[in-house]
């Protein structure tokens, strides 16, 4: 099949054995359990979910840092995994981390942090390295003369710019942004969001935007996937997801936002807390928290099925939620 997707994830599962000893079998933590996703060149996909839903494991498997238990990750037509060419994967996909304080080496100057990937990938001409570092710093809104400073000499927002520069210096096609603004001061966030969008347009990047902040996801994404306990429960265009959410979990996420603007959008909140992924409930994994759960939901797991062009929902009662407002 000719694949126009930059990234396609097919039935990906990542299971981790937990505990176990000489006489006991380890328990299986199904961090990611049967995920299908794709991203086209230049597209941004927002990935929404709460802690423990598997979004970080999913990111790691796209980077080739954990091996899938089942299924595969195809990046630019080639499978990612322990057999793949590590350097080639790194040239295609890079990551921007949440915490710009923890993700930069405090003992390296910005120049060293940015030059390292270039050297590793065969740019050995000193003049070219210096030029590309300077150009990259300009692109993220820093001055080239700041290259010889250390991370502690920058503010949080500037450090995140350095983190972005490091991710982009190899000119990757896909950038995974894991909560790129949530560690920043509120008044700084807009600067970084605007920068990411400008760079996307300039460099034709694809983004996988991982965030729990639905406002950020709506602003930055073309399509959105909602993840709960290792599975995608709803996916579609940003309009479908935020204006006609079908899955009760998506609705609960929207209802949980304390903003007067969204008050009318969805009202039904989720009850209780996220169950342990070590021991997920039978049937639909959202059923213990769902205001609409029936006996059927408690016994049979629903499958992700289309309700509309490009809008897929994993809920037994998705059809019923089509007309009524959330």
């Amino acid at each position: 099949m000719a694949d126009s997707n930059l990234l396609s994830i097919e039935d990906l599962a990542v299971h981790f054995p937990i505990g176990g000893g000489m006489f006991s079998k380890p328990q299986m933590l199904r961090a990611v359990d049967g995920v299908n996703l794709s991203i086209k060149p230049g597209e941004s996909l927002g990935l929404v979910g709460e802690s423990g839903c598997g979004k970080s494991t999913l990111a790691l498997s796209i980077l080739g840092l954990v091996d899938p238990t089942r299924g595969r990750v195809m990046l630019d037509g080639k499978a990612v995994g322990s057999e793949a060419d590590r350097l080639e994967v790194a040239r295609t996909v890079q990551m921007v981390f949440q915490d710009p304080y923890a993700s930069l080496n405090p003992r390296q100057t910005v120049r060293r942090t940015l030059a390292a990937p270039l050297r590793l990938h065969g740019v050995s001409n000193e003049g070219e390295v210096a030029d590309r570092v300077a150009e990259m710093l300009r692109q993220v809104g820093l001055r080239p003369d700041q290259a010889d400073l250390y991370p502690h000499e920058f503010s949080g927002g500037q450090r995140q710019r350095i983190g972005i520069a490091r991710a982009l210096i190899l000119k990757p096609k896909l950038v995974i942004c894991d909560e790129p603004v949530s560690a920043l001061d509120v008044s700084i966030r807009a600067q970084i969001i605007n920068l990411l969008l400008e760079l996307q347009a300039e460099m034709g990047l694809s983004y996988l935007m991982i965030s729990h902040d639905l406002g950020v996801v709506e602003h930055m994404s073309d399509r959105v996937a909602v993840m709960y306990l290792g599975r995608i429960v709803e996916t579609g265009g940003w309009r479908e997801i935020f204006e006609q959410p079908r899955h009760p979990y998506t609705r609960a996420l929207i209802a949980a936002i304390p903003d007067p603007l969204t008050r009318g959008l969805a009202r039904e909140k989720a009850r209780g807390e996220i169950p342990s992924p070590l021991n997920p409930p039978p049937g639909c994994t959202f059923n213990p928290r769902c205001p609409h759960a029936t006996d059927h939901c408690r016994s049979a797991p629903p499958v992700l099925s289309p309700v509309d062009e490009g809008h897929l929902v994993s809920c037994w009662r998705a059809e019923e939620f089509a007309k009524e407002p959330a």
Partner: protein
């Protein structure tokens, strides 16, 4: 004592940070009042002084932070200079506080039921036996499932949301007049946050407990509070009705904040617009600019803003703003 007397009056509060390099104003001239049963929010970014303002009300400031001026009155009585023993009697009984991270605020070595029971023993002179029964009731009220069994659990056996429920049970055990909540849901997942917020609102409304809510999340504060004070670099820059803060902010900083937030629903309403950026960074406490502290980042700043500290000016509708060029 007049019936109309505010529950809490903070007047011209000054807090300072003392270091080897000298003394710096962490909070300067903060004044606000909270009536009985009223809900007031204190919003600002990290380092703006909102949390230490709360700690000073609780009498919990420790070196290098200290109170350098102003008064804090609880139903008319000054409490900022009370001896430690009298403050201890006040804390938990009349003013209670819940913190951001329940795992570090709870004692990891005691069952949670015991930690709630402590409140009844310390402040109401109950016997331990009696107090532990009351603790189970308290857990029931914060909607912890299987409260009798949960009371025997240690904090590490509970989820983040359950721990925060325990914190709320401890805080509200003695029916305080004022609950101070410092970022109570920041460590929680969004759907759990929504439940905890609803629980706090419900319990406090039923008991007539006033809330001082401290957060960086403007949306969250307006959801809980009737009135909001916005802090920037140690000063209150605006006080508004919650209903008004998103629609009609007056201070350039508040206006910038509201315009810079990518709020869900905006893209559907207006399409994808470039977010308004607030230039520059939040100044550090050792390098506060003169005049209005927002002036280096403000697009309306003029010469006077660099020279003269603006007064907190009433706008007639009960709101206050500290800006030479507000509106």
């Amino acid at each position: 004592m007049s019936i109309n007397m505010p529950l809490l009056q903070v007047e011209n509060l000054h807090l300072s940070l003392t270091t080897d390099a000298g003394s710096f104003p962490a909070v300067e001239g903060v004044s606000f009042e909270i009536a009985r049963g009223e809900t007031v929010g204190l919003v600002g970014e990290s380092g703006c002084g909102k949390s230490i303002t709360a700690l000073s009300i609780m009498g919990l400031l420790r070196h290098p932070l200290g109170l350098s001026g102003g008064t804090i009155k609880l139903t008319g009585q000054e409490i900022q200079a009370l001896p430690a023993s009298e403050l201890r009697a006040l804390r938990g009984k009349r003013i209670a506080m819940i913190f951001q991270e329940p795992m570090t605020a709870l004692n990891p070595l005691k069952p949670v039921g015991r930690q709630i029971a402590e409140m009844f023993v310390l402040h109401q002179g109950a016997s331990w036996n009696e107090a532990e029964k009351k603790a189970v009731d308290a857990l029931t009220q914060v909607k912890v499932p299987a409260p009798a069994r949960r009371a025997k659990d240690y904090p590490h056996q509970l989820s983040g949301g359950m721990r925060q429920r325990v914190m709320i049970a401890i805080a509200l055990a003695c029916e305080p007049d004022l609950l101070i909540a410092d970022e109570p849901t920041t460590a929680l997942d969004v759907t759990v946050q929504a439940e905890i917020v609803d629980l706090m609102k419900e319990l406090c409304a039923a008991r007539g407990t006033a809330i001082l809510m401290i957060s960086h999340d403007l949306g969250l504060v307006t959801d809980i509070c009737k009135r909001v004070c916005v802090m920037y670099a140690g000063r209150i820059v605006e006080q508004q009705d919650s209903e008004q803060i998103f629609n009609n902010p007056q201070h350039p900083y508040t206006q910038g904040l509201v315009a810079s937030l990518p709020r869900l629903g905006m893209r559907a309403l207006h399409g994808r617009r470039k977010l308004t950026e607030i230039a520059g960074v939040v100044p550090g406490i050792t390098a506060y600019p003169g005049g209005c502290r927002f002036n280096p980042r403000c697009n309306r700043a003029t010469e006077i803003c660099k020279q003269v500290v603006p007064e907190l000016e009433p706008l007639g509708d009960g709101s206050l703003v500290r800006c030479h060029h507000h509106g």
